[in-house]
Symmetry: C3
Subunit: 426 residues, 3 copies
């Protein structure tokens, strides 16, 4: 494996995960998302990395890769053009003529994929494409198979024209990267599918791509609510009780499969149901209930708050709130009585607007998505699936039923109440 | 007693109990209301029943009466005309020439009434009218008495013209039903008082009606809030602790006089104060308090909800709510932070609109009355005495201050808040 | 000390503490504020009092002074003219020719001031002015000093022209009151500074005023939120556990430094963090948390309420509320879900309007100030620093963002929600 160069394509923009930012560095159980696949690849013997970054995350990657001394990293920023193919081209000088494994950075998979990959490498294939079966339509690349070999790849076919149920998540091996690099010049496309069409071109020319089947958990971070599924996956890895140097009231009830960091304070009558993660220095106030949730470092979950199936960043403040099925970035606070609605009255699946397009989330339970530094006033309510941009404030009593862009202050209209004489006391 | 035919008049419409429906079948402690008097009558030796039904409840009565194998039942639907007399006439063929006991189906009384009735029967009276003293005006039939005999009956006299303080609740005996049936033809009235005027006619003709005095609890279901008094009565019958196969957290505090059905789950720090009834399969979540309330089967009372002096049907969902002095039919749910206001700021008695007429409920504490399938959004508030029709939704944050008809969706106006730049972050 | 007459100036109006009233009689730990300095002075040997009252509080003072049998009191009402000098003149006949100590009634200080005063008296000074160093500007009288002697006094100088950092709080001694009384005639001023200018006149004439330096706690009640600082001071005096004849649930957790009066009931899972004071007959309901707060007599703190750093009068009712950094007079009630916002979303200090002028409170945490008999509906929210006049009601769901005068009823506008067909059920 040591002679393979792993190419991580992390130079794309993150507009689809708005209001979250820099999705590769969102923290799960104390570590950035991207650190999980990197650790995993190193653990399985892949130690040469080329990472295509962008101008926003390049420095973050520099700091992160310094924490993996056992591997070598080359960082290179993606050029002005977007897309996977352009990302590969940006790394041209570092990969030319090498054995190449291209991976998508926010994909998460079980170790068995690496084990099977290694086995399949023994046959010295020209190429190798991983895939997994999906139920329902997924907006990605579909593979057609024939006796273990890939025969065709189609990027985002019409939902009624999918050639199979097999999705290619990006874990693509090329015995010689030149085949891929050279094929880019042969294709003309004005869509965002040059990478897949290049592979399809190679398939057409007779290059043999083995199919690497995968049946385990496949996590990805395409939309902001995908954080919830990833979070549940990482929480699911917690076993037993993992309690650091924490102060825990005697009346607190903490189930199995709960991780509690150093410096945590847990007050009277708290209940924590696993799997849950409570980051360092966080305070869980009296009578709070945490159910199957991830709470970052140095948060204050104040009196009588309930957090259920949610992913909370660092330095968030709560006080007498209900947070259900929600994703909160760092430094978000809610005033007393503010709640998330996580279920429509008509019990229908929740939709959401992404890049100006209304899309189905497929979820019947979905709360809010809040970017960094959001403040929400007392007794406010956030409707299912509503997203709030960084640095925005939601005033007291507002029922927010639409996405709020970044840097806004939304408040009740000024004439929401009227004043008259109180006849009782006249 | 076996030669007496009991005639139950259950064919009337239930518009006055709106938004509740089929009042005879509202469940109290796991049984429909009507089953209580039927059981009681059978227990005291009355086993021949004729029930006047309507097209909505006829099938329900068929199913119900099948559960009383020791008695015989004839069901007959009321004709198109409303009123008690018409109900009696509808049953003519089943009662002609028989000893007849006419009872109102939603009246509830103590066993002593039956005991006294039996004693009085020993004197073989021509007729017998039960009554009880009321304080304040009651819109029903008043009796004038003379040495143990009824001398006059007046239906709904003017409040300042009541002949006595004695109300005739419908528990009326006729040694021969023909007297009653024949007198109907003699009266002409365009009001809804033919039944009472027929009795008054018989009194005028010299027929002797003994007065059967009653001093115990008299329950009735005229208006929907009467459910609260009935519920308190049935709860009052619970003695000791009655705990089925239930999971109860150690920290839960359950007082005496609480019934807990099979399959109930009671979580941490719950407090239940008797008399209270918790139906089968219901979950009482962490930190909830139930005080003197009736909760049906398969409800979920979520985290930090308080239910006080209320009657809750089956399959209702709560989550961080306060429900006080309220009546909820089956399948009602409230979002987090939704509350009932059960007390006016000016501490005055609560009024309510019934059949387009504002009437006094006489109660200073009264919450909401919700029909089946009502959904109430997060942080909504329902004002005292407000009624919500079946299948209606109350949007998040709405302060509902008027009755809401069935099948409506009420929501905050769309311009309830405004969005501006957040100058703090500019 | 016995030959000194203490002149207490309590005849001024209290408009600056609106919506609170009769500030000298606000209760702290079961006693009116004014009783603290009176007790303290008596304890240090000062037993002759002249109190200048006004027509509203004269009777209150009569009742109060009767409870100090060891001292003699003369009450005299202030004339029509306002101001300190006029107050002194009102008492002329009772103080002429006497040793005089003038004190401001709502100033609170430690015993050390009295000890030092006594020591300084040994030198038989002509006059003596107490003062304390302040950080930041204080709108009061500033002193210029020279080797332990006062050389000048200036009332409310411009903030950039303060002669020192030493504030004269009113604890002023005159060996012969005539010096002060006579000087009043010499000054012409149309401002409210005759008292200070008279002293300054005496200084100019060569009368020697020693400076009595004070470094301990100095409490005062100028604005209504000053109650919070005074309350914290008095609570700070509570040591150990002081639990009267009270019913306390086993699951309640009560810290050190908590005073609990007779007849108090504390229910399940309550937590009280000291220093806190719970007055006689008060009920603390299930799951409530009281943190560093003063709660008067006969209050009901209902289910799941949190009261933090607040001063609550007698006979107040709460129910599922959050009350933070707030001052409530007697007989205030809040419906379920009503909350105080005590922190601005932008984390800026809270301003407040006093006598039509917006002033800075200097506090970043400040909740509401409510006068007597205020009622607040369910799910209402009161914005930081908002004041509510006596006998006013705030309707359910209102977000009150401005002061509400006395005797008003404020409610949501009537068209706050709309009703449409519920298409789900059509």
């Amino acid at each position: 494996m040591k002679d393979i160069t792993v190419l991580i394509l992390a130079g794309g923009d993150c507009s689809r995960v708005w209001p979250l930012e820099e999705k590769h560095f969102l923290q799960f159980c104390g570590r950035p998302l991207i650190s999980y696949p990197i650790s995993q690849l190193i653990r399985h013997g892949l130690t040469n990395f080329v990472i295509v970054t962008n101008k926003n995350n390049n420095e973050m990657f520099e700091r992160l890769t310094a924490t993996f001394p056992g591997a070598s990293f080359v960082l290179t920023q993606q050029g002005q053009k977007p897309g996977m193919a352009q990302a590969v081209i940006s790394a041209k000088e570092h990969i030319t003529g090498k054995k190449l494994l291209v991976i998508g950075p926010s994909d998460i998979y079980e170790d068995i994929l690496l084990v099977d990959f290694k086995k399949m490498l023994a046959k010295n294939p020209e190429g190798l494409l991983a895939g997994t079966a999906v139920s329902g339509y997924f907006p990605g690349a579909y593979l057609s198979l024939d006796r273990g070999m890939v025969v065709k790849i189609v990027e985002k076919p019409d939902p009624d024209k999918t050639p199979s149920q097999i999705i290619n998540f990006v874990f693509d091996y090329f015995r010689n990267s030149n085949s891929l690099l050279e094929s880019f010049d042969k294709i003309k496309t004005d869509k965002d599918d040059l990478y897949e069409r290049a592979i399809d071109y190679l398939l057409g020319k007779g290059m043999e791509f083995r199919f690497l089947p995968y049946k385990g958990y496949w996590g990805f971070l395409k939309y902001p609510w995908d954080v919830l599924s990833l979070s549940a996956y990482f929480l699911g890895k917690i076993e037993g009780k993992n309690i650091g140097k924490a102060e825990i009231a005697e009346s607190a009830v903490i189930s199995d499969r709960v991780y509690i960091g150093d410096g945590v304070k847990i007050m009277e009558n708290v209940k924590i149901t696993g799997p849950s993660y409570i980051g360092r220095g966080t305070i869980i106030g009296d009578n709070c209930v945490i159910r199957e949730s991830h709470i970052g470092d140095n948060c204050v979950v104040g009196y009588t708050s309930e957090i259920a199936r949610s992913h909370i960043g660092n330095r968030c403040w709560f006080h007498h709130n209900y947070i259900g099925d929600s994703v909160l970035a760092d430094n978000v606070s809610l005033g007393a009585g503010a709640v998330t609605a996580n279920f429509r009255l008509d019990e229908q699946p929740v939709s959401s607007v992404v890049n100006n397009k209304k899309i189905k989330t497929g979820k019947t339970k979905l709360g809010m998505i809040a970017g960094e530094n959001v403040r929400i006033g007392v007794n406010a309510a956030i409707m299912p699936g509503v997203k709030i941009g960084c640095n925005s404030y939601v005033g007291s009593g507002v029922v927010l039923d639409k996405d709020l862009p970044a840097g806004k202050f939304c408040s009740l209209v000024s004439n929401s109440y009227q004043v008259a004489e109180n006849k009782i006391f006249k």
